[in-house]
């Protein structure tokens, strides 16, 4: 089934273009459809949280935006330009690796299992991208990375290898590493799920700081409902590969409209 690509604009125009737009995005693995016709706009500076039962496709949304997964239909736009596609003879065609790299530079991501580079110290982890990818002079990259490590409270551990750091500490370094690339959009994929309960706070506090201090656009998948309620501008509840309900956190958590949302929230509340 080929899609009519003429329905998609070559780029987004107007006064209020979203930082991220998913338009009719579809993702399947063979016969299994993971996401069906996803339409989602995220505004500049907005903090959007995705919640939902496992298998609802919420992590897939982040992974598609980071280009860790290819999409099977639709278009993803970042900062007004298509990410998954590029213009050729007036229509959108699948993007070349070079095009993807150019647009992808606006996106950063933190993972559930941190994925720090084990053969590099905390500081080396942070300067790797700026030096290798952005071509920044080492001294400058170090100075900037130290500021970021300081911001996440890890400056004193700069020369430690990841194996010597706790989970919470590793995740904070991973946040600094992602920020060192100066992304416009930050993705947090269950960044507290692999952490011991007593260190979750040190990571959520860093994310709170980011919400307060930066004009970053953020998209987060989390199981921490309290945290989601506190810091999100908007919460999306995913069910079966589609957005079942989305609203401001006060509304979605206090007064969910859909039955499935109520069931999910009740189940989560009971578990806690």
């Amino acid at each position: 089934m080929t899609e009519d690509m003429s329905q998609y604009p070559l780029q987004l125009e107007g006064d209020n273009i979203p930082m991220v737009r998913f338009q009719n995005v579809r993702k399947s693995y063979g016969a299994l459809t993971v996401l069906d016709n996803l339409n989602l706009d995220i505004d500049m500076g907005e903090m959007v949280t995705i919640i939902g039962p496992s298998g609802s496709g919420k992590t897939t949304v982040l992974r598609m935006l980071m280009t860790l997964e290819t999409i099977n239909g639709g278009v993803i736009y970042v900062d007004g330009e298509p990410l998954t596609h590029m213009e050729k003879n007036g229509v959108l065609v699948p993007a070349s690796p070079a095009h993807i790299r150019r647009i992808r530079s606006k996106i950063g991501m933190c993972f559930q299992h941190f994925n720090l580079f084990p053969h590099m110290t905390a500081l080396q982890n942070c300067i790797e991208g700026p030096v290798q990818v952005l071509g920044m002079p080492r001294k400058k990259a170090e100075a900037r990375s130290l500021e970021l490590l300081d911001m996440v409270g890890m400056a004193d551990k700069r020369d430690q290898y990841p194996s010597r750091l706790s989970g919470g500490q590793q995740q904070r370094v991973a946040i600094a590493r992602a920020l060192a690339m100066r992304p416009k959009v930050m993705l947090f994929d269950e960044v507290t799920s692999a952490l011991d309960p007593e260190v979750i706070g040190e990571v959520t506090n860093v994310i709170r700081k980011l919400v307060d201090a930066h004009s970053l656009t953020m998209l987060m998948v989390t199981h921490q409902m309290g945290f989601a309620k506190d810091i999100s501008d908007r919460v999306c509840f995913f069910f079966n590969g589609a957005i079942e309900e989305q609203a401001a956190p006060s509304e979605l958590f206090e007064n969910p409209q859909r039955e499935r949302t109520q069931q999910f929230l009740n189940a989560v509340l009971e578990a806690n």
Partner: protein, 220 residues
């Protein structure tokens, strides 16, 4: 039969000289194998399917046929197609090709031992594939590959006698020549064994220490 010490000492310089040749053959062959193995493993990981299939089959073919046959093939069959190579060149090519195939499997194991999350983190900081291999994957694939690489270093060294059959004047070739002249084989072959042992054992020991050192250096 009595061991003749005097004769042994007389032969020693010639055998030491041959040991040098053996080391050259092993070192040269290994240098080829180390680089070729990397080429073979990376070729199998390109998205270009025909290339990966051909290289995969080539590696399987080389690993499934005897080294001795490959040595003969390069040396004797080559000239029939107008490719005339000296014994040394033929020997190095054959042994380098053979061990390159084995080393590519060692590298493959090392590369596959690097967690998928490392590739994803590389994508997240927008690294190119080449940068990802050079900065992240190969450095992490190396420590687990060192012991396998070390085994094959000792292996290639012990296989250099195969080159004697096409006239490379290494240790085995020298011992054979001495034996044929004097009709005494005890001293020459014993010396060959001792010389091999004198190099293999410290090499194996050094490799183990090196592996530990690399792991420490990389914070693992």
């Amino acid at each position: 039969m009595q061991w003749r010490w005097e004769w042994t000492w007389e032969l020693l310089p010639r055998f030491l000289d041959a040991t040098g040749k053996t080391l050259m053959a092993a070192g040269g062959g290994y240098a080829i194998a180390v680089v070729l193995g990397l080429v073979l493993v990376l070729a199998q990981r390109t998205p270009f399917r025909p290339l990966t299939v051909v290289v995969r089959e080539l590696v399987e073919f080389i690993r499934s046929t005897p080294l001795l046959l490959q040595v003969f093939f390069v040396f004797y069959v080559g000239p029939q197609f107008g490719i005339n190579l000296s014994p040394w060149t033929s020997g190095l090519i054959a042994i380098g090709l053979h061990y390159g195939a084995y080393l590519s499997e060692v590298y493959r194991g090392g590369i596959e031992s690097v967690p998928k999350g490392q590739w994803e983190a590389a994508t997240a900081i927008n690294m190119s594939t080449v940068q990802t291999y050079r900065r992240l994957i190969i450095p992490q694939a190396l420590p687990p590959a060192i012991s396998g690489m070390g085994n094959y270093l000792v292996g290639i060294f012990k296989d250099t006698p195969m080159l004697s059959v096409i006239g490379v004047a290494e240790l085995m070739h020298t011992a054979n020549a001495v034996g044929a002249q004097s009709y005494r084989y005890l001293e020459p072959y014993t010396m060959v064994g001792i010389l091999f042992l004198a190099i293999s054992l410290p090499t194996a020991f050094f490799i183990t220490r090196f592996e530990q050192w690399v792991r420490r250096k990389m914070g693992m």
